[in-house]
Symmetry: C2
């Protein structure tokens, strides 16, 4: 039985899901070598690039819920990659600061992921890569736009 999912392959959601599901385990494997997971890695990157931001801003940047961020920052702090420092302007908030060790690890992990990226995109032209990046951002924005609308018009034409 070949291409038993032929019908599904026409749907963008299914295409995205298959490609993402295939790629994520490889991303996970690379990050494991650095003692990181996707959630801790992406948080670390944003803190390194935006030192001093607070947890709410970090959650917004990564589109994750604040409660789920708590344990992620806990892990980064335990690994001495990020520090929670009390914000002086707003004493409710923590200003997140990367440690030197965090900066160094982030750089090495990013380089490894860039090498994986080249393998994932093998066979694609430079133009293909740019088009992919552009299209995925359009789809993401379209999805956010749809979210603000009513789903009824889709399900019942």
């Amino acid at each position: 039985m070949q291409q038993a999912d032929r019908t599904l392959r026409h749907l963008t959601g299914y295409q995205l899901r298959r490609a993402t599901s295939a790629a994520m385990p490889e991303v996970n494997k690379v990050l494991e070598e650095f003692g990181l997971r996707r959630s801790t890695y992406s948080s670390l990157v944003v803190v390194v690039a935006n030192p001093g931001l607070n947890q709410g801003q970090l959650a917004d940047a990564l589109a994750i819920e604040r409660p789920n961020l708590v344990q992620i920052v806990d892990q980064l702090e335990r690994a001495k990659l990020v520090r929670r420092t009390k914000s002086v302007e707003d004493r409710r908030a923590y200003a997140l600061q990367p440690t030197p060790k965090g900066c160094e690890l982030e750089e090495r992990a990013t380089r490894a992921l860039e090498r994986l990226d080249n393998l994932l995109r093998e066979g694609l032209s430079e133009q293909d890569k740019e088009i992919l990046h552009r299209i995925l951002q359009i789809i993401e924005r379209n999805a956010e736009t749809i979210q603000e609308r009513d789903v009824a018009e889709i399900s019942t034409p």
Copy 2:
């Protein structure tokens, strides 16, 4: 703070993840209107397109583990969309058959998802859509190829 995740946006895995995470809730909402989830919908589609296939073949087609398929088929059977019929050639296996109700629901759900697809891909040219489909399949195959190799060469250059 704008584009706090700028560094991450360069990575294909992150691009894929963001687009997929934004799109999946919309897919879920559409399918909920039909009493389906992504897993039950995709299984239903494959059974309708390939009546008589068994659960192992279905699991392979959708790249899901067989144990996880059991409850999915249970749900489809409880909803009278699919029937498990004992295979005559191999009495260990079930031949999965769609019911008329299953065929009808699959068709309506697919039409609704195609309408969602048009919204998700709004602003893309016909060429963009074809390129996206092609690129995502390449990435999926590349990921499967990487999986068969050693990750060490990626993490430690």
